[in-house]
Symmetry: C2
Subunit: 347 residues, 2 copies
């Protein structure tokens, strides 16, 4: 609806393939528990989902890190599990535990999920996007996001977080067609959810495939690359100018195939990816984003040398500075301020 | 002391670089809970460590899968946490939970660990090796093992299993010298422990670095590659003919550097490694071992096609058939028998 509002944001220029003298910077989970103003906001909400679905509060959470640090992009405050919730599954966040999701473990259960209404149920998220869009400073991009189908499926099948993904792997191997129906439903819901965020004003979107790294090659192709390809193809048709950042965390030796085959615009690198390999084999194809270890930011002592090493590796091509995973809740705010200063100063 | 007793074992020939018409086969955690005879043996022991330290029972556990399936190598029945135990830390295995290890979180605690006596305290393990050696069929190799220093350190610092390795990462970044003292002590203990297994009759040894995949490149070089290099150098001096299989699970894009720089004889591949890449970039340097997904073995339906794909990828070079991780406790015995049959039949 709003069109591209901030064509000059340096995040958008880097995602379009431009090499910048000073790279843009944002941080995964920059809106979150390490900020006292976020913890205050969180206390005012009934629970985590209530916060995600209150446009005023969620917009405030999105904007807090922008006000404090002047980062180059805001990331929508939301959660990857709003999609299973919109598909009618119960989703709860218990204090001090991970999320608890009502499970789906067989084809019949998938077929009983509602076939439409996802974007209607998620209307408050798009209202958040509109609010943020109206309040963001010029030159600051807004990034929308969704969980990728494989990762969201693991939460739905396991009923929450997992160490070994046993139920998901068993189902996907025993009955790939049935599991494929779940993945297909998530592909459709993800396309709709990301499109609606774009229509509400998101400048770019990121697909979080946090558990992509636990699959063997065949399964990675079938449950990560193929669904991602369908999402990027549909979005390219509906919104040809909106960049899609793919983040297949832990993909290791499959990063290359993911970049070559999915049709994503830019690639998010986790902290384990060796930078010389990424520079040589990935940045030649697409802009890269990453990959400071969140523990380096938390501890602080090696921050300067790591930032310099990252700028030296990726500064010569299209690049968005970021972490390799989300900001950790115990991260001192001073370290984040120091990081912003170091990246601004440049190499 | 016994010298190399079984020079014609096909496992040893593959580890020496020979390409075999029918590859040798053994399975990580082939001695374990999926076998009813193991569960029976386990019931007779006070606890898991008691089983590890009873030479008669541990030898029996080691031999059970050989009797049942006629695999080409036995893997010593023991545990990677016997080393922290021998360094004076309490180690407990609680039913249905992971192991609980008395923590070490600062340099002073490391310096209070005993400086010798590791192999004296672990004498029952070497007695197990001697017993197994005397009872193994000709042509069946015995593989000894230890946890690699990084992986063992994570258990000692976290106090057990972990999802994020927060305490270990924080310590290693905040005080790399202090953490390095712990790693150094583990390097020494590991060299002594593996040497003693070799002197008792082990034909080859494997270093399990199960948590190698959570480190960024700098940390991987410092805490995985460097300690492994010191271990292989010391073992090469004491036991020049004994192959060392390195298994840096999850190393992804760092597999190549690990193979090129550590001095290991052969490389264990996890299930996530794409086989064409491993064949092209790793098997040209060293024999490879792996990498069937344990869930494929557990579920069974894709077993034949996966075995055929593995044989097609790796059968043209030095290769030991194995899983990409240990046998899962719920694995049906029939599937293991079927796997043995498929590998025997060959491509």
């Amino acid at each position: 609806m709003t069109g591209r509002r901030r064509p000059t944001s340096i995040v958008m220029r880097a995602l379009a393939g431009e090499t910048l003298a000073r790279p843009p910077l944002w941080l995964m989970r920059q809106a979150g528990r390490y900020l006292p103003e976020y913890r205050e906001l969180r206390r005012g909400a009934r629970d985590f989902l209530d916060l995600c679905f209150s446009p005023k509060r969620a917009a405030e959470a999105t904007l807090q890190p922008i006000r404090r640090f002047g980062l180059d992009a805001a990331i929508l405050f939301s959660d990857i599990l709003v999609v299973p919730w919109a598909l009618g599954r119960k989703v709860e966040y218990r204090e001090g535990e991970g999320p608890v999701v009502e499970t789906v473990r067989e084809r019949a259960a998938v077929e009983s999920l509602p076939h439409d209404g996802v974007t209607m149920r998620l209307a408050p998220v798009y209202e958040t996007v509109q609010r943020v869009t109206a309040m963001l400073p010029a030159g600051t991009a807004l990034i929308g996001f969704a969980g990728a189908p494989w990762t969201v499926a693991t939460y739905m099948v396991e009923g929450g977080s997992s160490r070994d993904f046993a139920a998901t792997k068993r189902w996907s191997l025993r009955d790939p067609e049935g599991f494929g129906v779940l993945i297909g439903r998530l592909v459709t819901a993800t396309i709709d959810h990301l499109s609606a965020q774009i229509e509400a004003g998101a400048d770019a979107v990121q697909l979080f495939d946090s558990w992509a790294g636990v699959l063997d090659e065949n399964s990675f192709r079938r449950w990560v690359i193929e669904p991602t390809k369908r999402i990027t193809a549909a979005l390219a048709e509906r919104h040809p100018d909106v960049p899609i950042i793919g983040f297949p965390r832990g993909a290791g030796l499959m990063y290359r195939a993911y970049v070559d085959e999915t049709g994503i615009t830019a690639i998010g690198l986790d902290s384990m990816v060796p930078r010389d390999v990424a520079q040589r084999t990935l940045q030649c194809s697409v802009p890269v984003q990453g990959n400071l270890d969140p523990f380096v930011l938390l501890v602080g002592s090696a921050l300067q040398s790591e930032v310099e090493a990252i700028l030296a590796s990726f500064g010569g091509g299209p690049f968005v500075f970021n972490l390799g995973h989300g900001v950790l809740p115990d991260t001192p705010i001073d370290h984040v301020a120091q990081l912003v200063e170091l990246v601004r100063r440049g190499p």
